[in-house]
């Protein structure tokens, strides 16, 4: 980045900083590990007069998202942050927020869903929201979490999108660890996000609107199709937002997913979030040994960039999809997407599903190397494998 400021910061700090720089009109949030410190840092910025926002310290996550819907419908730029049980509790209203086309930006510090209760990372919380109608962006490190939080604001407010955007970062792995991150100057962020003008704000008392009315079977279906259409507009708008962001930040975002040493790879791993960092190290090591391996990491999970990912994987020998959540009685959520993306193709890679990292279980370099080794076996049985679990 050209004019940035390199610092050693935690995931909490970079997200709070992004929120400060966006300067939302309203933040409504409730504490939960491992999200709490994001809102704590932000609240301190407010207390010190560094940002002009109303913070609603609600009595539950259900009320957090409910207040966000009220605020965003009112015409205010609105943000929240949560994790795990908090997201589960607000889920009813996450669906409503999407259907009411409220451009709320929410951080999810990924944490396993109960039970058993566990405060550590997996993706079961955000995956439970994958059919809610919110856009989902998965960050690999503090830098991406910071940049996606900024980009999310523009994406959410795009006129033919107007949907909530969930930006996830792995709980503890990213939220609680200090990493080198490069922050933009405040003015650059202000210029990038610009002013928000809601189209039909509830607070326009001279032009009263009825928001959230009751649909019978004669209209419900069409209203859902409007959400479908909005979701379909996301990829193009996200690319435009990336272009604009690159201009400001000097970054080089140019897609809906990241590929790492994929061009001539025979074997590929697909996964989301912070484990990509470990996987890249493994890819480099195996490449040094002459193995043709690569990594694909979706940034955007909803809407799922199926077409592009299909093109990136189609010529591979074998692909392992590593899911950090379960869909009991079925395959992992990410695997299902990849499998669906490739389903129409006659000639396609062998495809395998692994589950890893549930409830914060570590995944190490040798375990990822083992996956690449598995892929080399042309007779490898197709079944779910659980990395590092005692069975």
């Amino acid at each position: 980045m050209s004019n940035g400021n390199k610092e050693v910061l935690t995931g909490h700090q970079v997200v709070a900083n992004a929120m400060k720089q966006v300067e939302p009109d309203v933040v409504a949030a409730y504490p939960i590990t491992p999200q709490s410190e994001i809102v704590q840092y932000f609240s301190q910025y407010v207390a010190d007069g560094e940002v002009d926002s109303e913070v609603i310290r609600v009595e539950s996550e259900h009320s957090a998202m409910s207040a966000c819907v009220g605020s965003a419908a009112a015409g205010a730029r609105t943000m929240t942050a949560t994790a795990s049980q908090g997201l589960a509790l607000m889920m009813e209203i996450v669906y409503i927020a999407a259907s009411m086309r409220t451009p709320i930006v929410m951080t999810v510090a990924n944490r396993a869903l109960s039970g058993p209760i566990n405060i550590h990372c997996d993706h079961s919380d955000s995956m439970a929201a994958r059919d809610s109608g919110v856009i989902q962006l998965y960050g690999e490190d503090a830098q991406e979490a910071y940049e996606f939080t900024l980009m999310a604001q523009k994406l959410a407010e795009s006129e033919d999108v107007l949907l909530p955007v969930m930006v996830t970062l792995d709980g503890f792995t990213l939220t609680h660890t200090a990493q080198v991150a490069e922050l933009l100057p405040d003015e650059a962020v202000s210029d990038f996000v610009g002013e928000y003008d809601a189209r039909h704000p509830l607070l326009d008392v001279d032009n009263p609107t009825t928001q959230g009315p009751f649909d019978m079977p004669d209209y419900y279906f069409e209203h859902k199709l409007q959400q479908v259409e909005a979701m379909e507009n996301v990829p193009e708008r996200f690319l435009e937002v990336q272009d604009k962001f690159n201009d400001v930040a000097g970054s080089d975002y140019d897609g809906l997913f990241e590929t790492y040493r994929m061009d001539d790879a025979d074997y590929a791993i697909v996964l989301l979030g912070s484990t990509a960092g470990t996987a890249k190290v493994v890819v480099d090591e195996l490449r040094d040994e002459g193995k043709k391996v690569g990594l694909l990491k979706p940034w955007l999970f909803r809407p799922f960039p199926a077409e592009g990912i299909k093109d990136a994987l189609i010529d591979k020998e074998a692909v392992a999809v590593l899911d950090r959540s379960l869909s009991f009685g079925s395959s992992g959520p990410l695997y299902l997407e990849i499998s669906s993306a490739l389903s129409e193709e006659k000639s396609k890679p062998r495809l395998y599903n692994y589950t890893y990292g549930l409830g914060g279980r570590d995944i190490k370099e040798d375990q990822i190397a083992d996956v690449f080794e598995d892929l080399e076996d042309p007779d490898l049985e197709s079944k779910m494998r659980y990395i590092g679990a005692r069975q």
Partner: protein, 308 residues
């Protein structure tokens, strides 16, 4: 203090709530809503919990509301309006809007006493500048007359019906007005659709109070109460005149009884016209009626003590 004539004139000038909705004849909800909205000349932004009022007034693409109105879900009318109110404060401070606006949340007893109690309590404690109105008809009427914690002792509902072994709900209802008063907010009022000037005065005070205000309004349901639609006002009035539903306010912590019946009627006068209480008058249930009377007497005496 606005007379009924003034309220009617205001409505003629600006119809905040239109006719043509599909609420039942004799429904107390529209009576309460119109009275409350006409009690202020200022603009009002409303949130509405899921329930009869929401369903019957906003069937897409129609709306009975000529004011900004938002429905989010069942249990969160208070949290939703608190978001809108916070947005208003923020945008006003930043100079992005300039008009003065009032905020009112409407919800039924199910949406308040039960599923929405936490959302209400949180919004009251946070001190948002809004008025929360509970339209209390004593059961989940929209879903088919199921028991709520506002259902009166002795009432038969579809989920706590009268039968061979019981006359219906055997527990006394929750005293929500006192629960809200315990939040020590600036204004709390208990009102009824039978006493419209009293309701209007309280709405006026509540809406123009700085900070959170609350109104608990007794509202009829002809289906749930099993009364003729034409008797709605009369029957609600019996609730007031028996002191089963006293009209009072807690204004900055000070209790005032705003209407004292000339003659406190026996509670049977409230119970008998409503068929939901019919089982109370069958052989063997006299004791329950006496218990209800004893509860009313005790609560009334307590309230009188607080108001002196």
């Amino acid at each position: 203090m606005a007379s009924l004539k003034t309220l009617a004139k205001r409505e003629e000038k600006e119809r905040k709530f239109e006719s043509g909705h599909s609420l039942c004849s004799g429904c107390g909800l529209s009576i309460a809503v119109r009275t409350i909205l006409n009690s202020t000349e200022g603009s009002v932004v409303a949130s509405n919990a899921t329930g009869c009022l929401e369903v019957a007034t906003t069937r897409f693409p129609t709306s009975a509301w000529n004011i900004p109105w938002i429905h989010n879900a069942f249990e969160n009318a208070a949290a939703t309006i608190s978001g809108a109110e916070a947005a208003y404060r923020s945008l006003k401070r930043k100079g992005k809007i300039d008009k003065e606006t009032n905020f009112v949340a409407f919800a039924g007893d199910g949406g308040t006493y039960d599923i929405g109690l936490q959302s209400l309590s949180g919004a009251l404690e946070r001190g948002h500048n809004f008025t929360y109105v509970t339209l209390d008809n004593g059961a989940y009427m929209n879903t088919g007359i199921q028991r709520s914690s506002a259902t009166p002792k002795g009432a038969s509902t579809t989920t706590a019906p009268a039968g061979k072994e019981t006359y219906g709900k055997e527990r006394k209802r929750k005293n929500l007005t006192e629960i809200v008063a315990a939040h020590e907010i600036p204004y709390v009022g208990q009102a009824s659709i039978s006493n419209l000037t009293d309701l209007s005065d309280k709405a006026d005070k509540a809406i123009h109070t700085d900070g959170p205000a609350f109104l608990n309004v007794l509202s009829t349901c002809q289906l749930g109460w099993r009364i003729p639609p034409k008797d709605a006002i009369k029957v609600a009035g019996k609730g007031v005149d028996t002191c089963w539903w006293p009209l009072y306010e807690v204004d900055d912590g000070e209790y005032n009884i705003t209407y004292e019946p000339k003659e406190k009627l026996p509670v049977e006068e409230w119970l008998k016209p409503q068929k939901r209480f019919a089982a109370l008058f069958k052989a063997g249930n006299q004791e329950a009626v006496e218990e209800i009377q004893a509860d009313v007497d005790e609560d009334w005496e307590k309230l009188k003590k607080k108001s002196t």
